[in-house]
Every structure is written in C-alpha cells, then in structure tokens.
C-alpha cells in the first residue's frame, strides 16, 4: 500500500523517474543559490530576475517555436543583461541593488510583452510560463543537469569571496579585487538556475525551489554550511513529495511541488529549532550564564 503510493509511480513510469531526476538536479543547484539570496536579503531579487528572463524566453519561443536551445539562450541573454546592468549601476552609483534591478527588470518585462504582442500570442506559451516537469526529454534533462553542475562548480570557486562580501564588503574591497567578479558571477548563477527552473516549473514558479528551501533552512541551522545542506535536502524532499502528490491527485506538478515546500516551510516556521515560533513562545527557563 505505502509502496504503491510512494514508490510505484517511479518504478512504473519512466516520465516520473525523469521528473524525479530533474527535480533533484534542480534542487542541488537552486537551493544553495537561494540560501545566499536570503542571506544577502535578495530573495525578491530572485523573483524580479524570474520576470526579467520571461521575455527573453518568450522571444526565443516566438522566433523558433518550442525550441529548448532558443528559449534557454533567450532567457540567459535577458537575465544576464538585466543582472549585469543592475549590478554595475549598484556598484558605481548611489542607487542600491534593489532599486536598480527593479528598473531594469520592468524595462525587460515591458520590452518582452511588447514584442510578444507585436508577433501575436500562442497557447503553447502557457507551457513556458508554467513549465512541465512531467514531460522531460533527454535534452532538457541534460541541460538541467549541466546547469546544476556548473552552478556547484562556480559556487565552489566564488564561495569564499562571496561569504566575505556578504559579511564585510569593505574588508573584501581592501584585501582583494575579487568582490565585483564574485558578485557578478553569483548573479549569473541566479539567472542560470532560474532558466533551469523554468524548464521544470515555469518562469513563475521556478524561483520557488530557490526561496522556500532557504527559508526552511534558516529555521533549522545557525551555520551557513548547515543551511545549505538543509536547503538542498528540503528542496529534494519537496520535489519528491510534490511529484507523488501530483501523481496521486492529478493536480499540476509545479504547484504541487511548491505547495509541499510551503507546508514544510510552515512546519519549520512553527517548530524550527532556530527561532521557530513555538520555541520562542516556550523558551524554557533562562540559563545561569
């Protein structure tokens, strides 16, 4: 019975196995990025970037149809352009990252919508907006796995300067010039993972596997290594449980995955060992020293 519900879908159907593989690869890349976004108070930046890549992907789609390569390239170009422009403006002027990014992503969005309306719309575009993790072909699966691998490798390279820049940016500026490249590389990774996410969950929900696991992790660990591990694990768990839920009840897989993550988030919010609400309400007697 339990086997039937939890394991059988994956042993019986290849598309479920592919979906599971995709969601695991996605989690490995997106969750650590999400943790850094959260720690830099940039969670909403992820969301804004998701809007920024949408037009690029849509343009790619309009030019060459449901072509994976064109859509990925379009999304990457739009995302990189917005991320790099916003990063440069924030570094070189008084405008902070959030304000400059908001400007550029709105321009990108407006540009995309204009182009789409000129070229005419298409029902298949919904596919782009909401993704379809249950229809992973080999090509898409490879792209997702490749992007996740690149993410982990690049993150390993820029990990140290990235952490120092989060904690003490002035110090990093005085000892090294790695701050700016590391920051831009990080923004690039955000874009790569959003593009990754849109193949599976669509441009609108793709950011979910970045942000929610990071929020969950914050309630269970006070240490960045621990946070990254917990975020990855909870992202994979949400992906798996969401796929099962979707398979058994027939609700769309993307929203199912994010809703499961939301349930984990609420549980963590209430009972997390680091600042969970229940723990806060009943902290126990104060200590001696």
């Amino acid at each position: 019975m339990i086997t039937d519900t939890l394991i059988a879908p994956f042993t019986d159907f290849e598309f479920m196995r592919r979906a599971l593989a995709a969601v695991i690869a996605l989690s490995l890349g997106a969750a650590p990025i999400g943790v850094f976004l959260m720690l830099r108070r940039m969670s909403l930046v992820g969301d804004a970037m998701a809007h920024a890549i949408l037009p690029g992907a849509a343009i790619g789609f309009l030019i060459s149809g449901l072509n994976l390569f064109a859509m990925t390239t379009g999304g990457l170009i739009a995302g990189f352009a917005v991320a790099i422009l916003a990063g440069l403006v924030a570094r070189n002027t008084e405008l902070k990252e959030d304000a400059s990014l908001a400007t550029f992503y709105l321009v990108s969005l407006a540009l995309g919508v204009t182009i789409v309306s000129v070229k005419g719309t298409n029902i298949d575009l919904l596919h782009v907006l909401f993704g379809n993790i249950l229809a992973m072909d080999n090509q898409t699966l490879f792209v997702i796995a490749f992007n996740a691998t690149v993410t982990l490798l690049v993150l390993a390279v820029i990990y140290r300067p990235l952490v120092i820049e989060c904690v003490d940016p002035v110090f990093l500026r005085t000892v090294s010039r790695a701050g700016a490249p590391a920051h831009l590389a990080f923004l690039a990774l955000v874009v790569v993972n959003l593009v990754n996410g849109f193949h599976a969950l669509g441009t609108l929900l793709g950011v979910g596997l970045m942000i929610l696991p990071a929020g969950i992790a914050r309630f269970w660990s006070r240490d960045i290594t621990g946070m990254i591990c917990i975020a990855v694990l909870s992202a994979i768990a949400s992906g798996y449980a969401g796929l099962v839920l979707s398979f058994q009840t027939g609700i769309p897989s993307g929203p199912a995955i994010i809703l499961v993550a939301a349930v984990f988030y609420i549980i963590s919010l209430l009972s997390g060992s680091c600042g969970g609400l229940v723990r806060q309400a009943f902290p126990g007697r104060h200590l001696e020293a």
Partner: protein
C-alpha cells in the same frame, strides 16, 4: 628612515567637495601616528584614501610600493552584517586572506594562528559563537584579531577606541604598541588627547587642511586646537573651483 607614505598635495572628497584639502607630508616607515581633529575634519576620508577605497580628487598618495593586501584598514563604522551566520573563528580567519586567497587550505598552522590571535585579544572560548552574539567591545576585539592576522606593513585604525570600555581599550592599545615594536607603520584616528599624549609619539592635526604635523607635544597646543576648531564643517554648494596650487606644508 624611508617614507612609508608620501602625500603629495592630496585632496580627497566627495562630489568634488574637498574633505581633505591640499595635504602634503610623509609618514616614516615604522611610525606610530595619531590623526586628530574635530568631527568632519577629514580623518576618515584620509584613511579611506590610504586604504584605496577613495581615489584622490587631485594630488597623489604614494605607499612606497605597498600592495592593497599589505594594508590593514579598520573602518570607523564597520559595515558588517551581524546577522550573517558566521562564527567568530571563521570571521577572524578571513584575515588570513593574503595567505589563503580563494582556495588555500586552512591547515593546522592557520588554525593555530587564528586561535592565538583570538587569545591575544582575550576572546578565547568565543570561537564557535556567531558574530551576531558579540557585544560592541567584543566585536572590536574580534576586529583587532583579524587585523593581527592580516600581518600588514601598514595598519590604519579609524577611531578604534570609540564606545569601548577602559579595560578593552587598554588591552587593544597594548596590541597597537606591539605592532609599533614590530616596526609596522600604524595610523590611528583618535579623540582622546590624553591617550595621544601618552602613547603616540607623532601627531597629525587635521581640519580639512593641515593644521600641524610633528611630535605630539608640539602639535597638541591650545593655539593649534583653537585653529582647528575654527574650520568650517559644511560644504558650500556654491563654492567655486579651487584655485590654490599648493599650500605650505610640513614634512615630518
């Protein structure tokens, strides 16, 4: 002794308004120099210039070939995200950047050095605490531990003893003296004249422009201090472009 820092008619400022105006002079290698002056005199601006964060509007700063990594700069209002989940040990360890860089391992030797630095500032037992749990004084001790690890030829401390209790400032002052004994060049912005008189052989009195620079006893006179206080603090939005080519100045 050779000059570690040579300032040649340096003007530093923000949006063309000078905060340090036509400053020239030399700091000898191994000097222990106090930089004093009222609020807004340009002490922090001068230090930002030395640390390479701010480019001079005119003039030049010659650091005798010192690399950025050879300068340890402790800013006044440290822009640290104290909610970031990093332990005191790891934070202080970033002071070893010069050795470790992106990838260098933290071996036994490095770990020992971090532990020693924490002991030197009296923070033993704090290794695994998150930086957010430290008090103001403990934070300053931790920052000194990082400066210690940076092992820099030039150390620039911007008001290091502000809002720090007597015990902590005495402990940290011992470190400053140790750095001086190790022939490092140390500059500190300070407001406590008694401390300057007892512990700093040389003083620069700054009030946007140079007021006096030399042996502490000759600089901290009442005439000089009055002169420094007369300086106007506010920028004048309608000020014309500065026409002065150079001001008479001093070399220590």
């Amino acid at each position: 002794m050779a000059a570690q820092i040579t300032l040649r008619d340096v003007t530093l400022g923000y949006e063309r308004h000078p905060a340090v105006h036509h400053l020239s002079g030399e700091v000898a290698s191994g000097a222990l120099l106090a930089v004093v002056g009222p609020n807004g005199a340009g002490k922090s601006t001068l230090f930002r210039g030395l640390a390479g964060i701010l480019k001079p509007l005119s003039g030049s700063i010659d650091l005798d070939g010192l690399d950025n990594r050879d300068i340890a700069y402790l800013p006044q209002s440290v822009d640290i995200d104290r909610s970031f989940p990093i332990s005191v040990f790891d934070f202080v360890g970033t002071g070893l950047w010069r050795q470790t860089g992106f990838f260098g391992g933290m071996g036994r030797r490095e770990r020992d050095r971090i532990t020693q630095a924490l002991a030197a500032v009296g923070l033993n037992g704090f290794e695994n605490r998150n930086i957010g749990t430290l008090s103001g004084g403990q934070m300053q001790r931790m920052l000194f531990a990082r400066v210690l690890l940076q092992d820099a030829r030039l150390i620039v401390l911007d008001e290091p003893f502000n809002a720090i209790d007597a015990k902590t400032s005495a402990d940290l002052l011992l470190l400053v003296k140790r750095w001086h004994d190790e022939k490092r060049t140390v500059l500190a912005a300070l407001h406590d004249f008694d401390l300057v008189r007892t512990s700093f052989p040389e003083t620069l009195l700054l009030a946007r422009g140079l007021v006096a620079w030399g042996p502490t006893a000759q600089v901290l006179t009442s005439e000089n201090l009055t002169e420094a206080r007369r300086m106007c603090e506010a920028f004048d939005d309608t000020a014309a472009a500065c026409a002065v080519d150079a001001r008479p100045s001093q070399a220590a």
